[in-house]
Point group: C2
Chain length 435, copies 2
């Protein structure tokens, strides 16, 4: 019995999905049982890159999500609405949902998953994070024996492209951004990418999968890359680091003895020997640390029609496979590893309790005793230093670069506040976290 797909959207990703479904040869044999049944588009007579039979096309998206013949709805129109309403409607009509929509899942996940659970259908979202990289599936199905401690991702291709070029060319952010926009690697309004919002959506989703609890997207602490300068990158290189925008979810001991989750997106100094340090250009990678597995990393293309379509189709196949031989209208339970089982929100660690290494760059007066005064400000607040280097003297000003040991963020901030009060400090130029 064919498994019927209702596809919402025939843009870049939707076109890629249709292309795979219409040309199954050489792919999984299970694709023979999957049929593209209807395709919802905004306009019927737009030219398209993929040759979809005209009879399948419709502008009536509601007609697709309520069509009794459709088994699974694939949502690749993106945006918050009408994507959310269409997914809810599809679920209400007993259809499984596959989506690439990180923004909608990060915001409306609890509502969507509650609805899916009530109706006994799957919501699948491999394509929402990391483009073609299999990561959602491995988190659900391959790492169940592990207690995960941390998940670190380079999950935004645009910012990784910009940072890679800044490092290679010694160029400043604004210049590379402008060029990336001209080349189509960054959007005209780059906010979602360069301010880390897209990465924050993705880490909210990944954290929920990795740590088995719901995550409130608003609790992700988010810093983008606008303030990263060519000077920071150059100093980081001298110290053996490369700067990457990391999305991080890590378990840390909470104040009440319970573990809490630290959830954040920020530019980070990554040691050159770390596997994430070599992930350049538009590639993405997700690095996972757990017990007893140790460290694993998933690397691949973070975006693009083909890779994202590959992820969408793998979700379709998993649902089709899991439903095969089950009574479609019966009460067969869902596969527990594919469906969402958690309901409680994971406690989030307050930002000041975060433990991290820090990199700070100061401009100081060039006079005896400055280093001692800086060192004392840190020491008095329990912030121990790994290195403190006075690197450049220009006129009566000196550049000082400090890397701390792992310290509590609250203590570090108190030390910085004290340092900023010191008359011999001209300016705290930049503060970055160090992996």
């Amino acid at each position: 019995m064919a498994f019927k797909v209702g596809l919402l959207g025939l843009g870049t990703v939707g076109g890629g999905v249709a292309q795979i479904l219409l040309d199954a040869k050489g792919r999984s044999p299970l694709l023979q049982d999957v049929k593209l049944h209807r395709v919802g588009v905004r306009s019927l007579d737009k030219p398209r890159s993929v040759d979809v039979p005209e009879a399948l096309l419709t502008t009536d998206l509601e007609g697709i999500v309520t069509d009794p013949d459709v088994d699974i709805v694939v949502e690749v129109i993106g945006g918050l609405e009408p994507a959310r309403s269409l997914m809810l409607q599809a679920i209400a009509h007993g259809k499984h949902v596959v989506t690439a929509n990180k923004a909608a899942i990060a915001r409306f996940g609890p509502e969507l998953f509650d609805a899916a659970k009530a109706k006994g259908v799957y919501i699948m979202l491999e394509a929402a994070v990391g483009g073609g990289i299999p990561i959602v599936q491995p988190l659900k199905q391959s790492l169940g024996g592990d207690r995960l401690n941390a998940l670190l991702g380079i999950v935004n291709g645009t910012t990784n492209y910009i940072l890679s070029r800044m490092a290679a060319e010694g160029a400043d952010f604004a210049a590379v951004l402008a060029d990336a926009q001209a080349l189509g690697y960054a959007e005209a309004d780059p906010t979602a990418d360069v301010d880390g919002l897209d990465a924050a959506d993705k880490i909210a989703i990944l954290a929920s999968l990795a740590f088995g609890g719901r995550v409130n997207r608003e609790q992700v602490v988010c810093e983008g890359i606008r303030q990263v300068s060519a000077t920071d990158i150059a100093y980081a290189q001298k110290l053996g680091f490369v700067i990457k925008l990391l999305a991080i979810a890590a378990r840390q001991p909470g104040t009440d003895g319970q573990d809490a989750l630290s959830l954040r997106v920020h530019p980070t100094l990554v040691p050159l020997g770390h596997p994430l340090a070599r992930v350049d250009g538009a590639y993405n990678a997700i690095f996972v640390e757990g017990e007893p597995i140790g460290q694993v990393m998933f690397f691949g293309p973070g975006a693009g029609a083909g890779p994202t379509a590959s992820a969408v189709v793998s979700d379709i196949l998993n649902v089709a496979g899991s439903m095969q031989g089950r009574d479609r209208d019966g009460a067969a339970p869902l596969h527990p590893l594919l469906s969402c089982s958690h309901h409680d929100f994971f406690p989030i660690a307050p930002a000041e309790d975060l433990h991290s290494r820090f990199f700070v760059r100061f401009l100081t007066q060039d006079m005896p005793g400055v280093i001692g005064r800086i060192g004392t400000c840190f020491g008095d607040r329990g912030v121990s230093l790994e290195s403190l280097v006075q690197t450049e003297v220009k006129g009566d000003e000196a550049q000082v670069v400090v890397v701390t040991h792992t310290v509590r963020q609250g203590d570090f901030q108190a030390a910085i506040a004290a340092i900023e009060q010191d008359a011999c400090i001209r300016k705290v130029d930049s503060i970055l976290r160090v992996l």
Copy 2:
């Protein structure tokens, strides 16, 4: 209803598996439904690292694989026999099988999978390749929408450790091997690792999963790393390469218009910019190329109790999840993505039809015209050269290093045979393939 595990073997990996099953907190909730039911060991009173209740232990392995209460048999005793017979017996008694036994699967795969299919049970083998790295699961469940073209793996930790140290220290193979043996990174009899046999077992398994056909282990062309010299590594570095033992399965056009599979294990010059070039020490990585996904890589610990146990437990969870809610004695079909569906052997490309770049190092007489004669030998057989460098002259001898473009292996070998006949060639020192 608890899902009951019969564990065969309580060595390194078995101990790791027991440890996870007996301490489920913080791992997948599905582990609550999985119970360690019996554990087969060789001797009851051996001291063990893991605290298994004595009542579970038995030396009667046959009693476990025929126990009507056991749902799934986990085979981690290794070796060919009695592992094969015990797995067949377990299958005959309707039990699912999870194994970490690459040697047995690579050799007896068809027999085991036929038996499993006849009885409607799963054989799962995530732990057989790449230790803790999720790779079998992603190949089965995440890349079904793709047409895979090539799979390249660093799948043997011992040889990767030896080659990494040779490169870092400029040391020769024999010295590093001896040290690796002293440190426990290589076995007293290192044949299976350094001659590429272990990697060949693994690529046979991976090729079968990636290309959807059965693979005859004997058809894997296999070269180990004994002949790789410090001199080769040094020249490779100068040319921008690092030498890795790669296990390769790649689709190539066959002579009859049908695709054939090229299956091989050999030391390979990998360009420094390639993601596999950075995989050092005992780490493993599997690099997959397909359409439309592009390039993805899976990286992690290739061996060890913890990582391998993590892979075994993920298999147990997938079988338990897939059986949940199904009538255990009923005729419910298996999940098509988890079970093995192919029966035909994939046609294997003859070695001489392989297309590859080659690296050759000669010792020649230092006299005018040698370069021209070498160049002509290659050119006459249709082998075009990327670079030809005379690098060192000692007395009346010169060292010549050649890198070819991608050429047919048969043509390349004919050229080498002709060159060896030339009176001014003292010796062909080494021939390696180039990625």
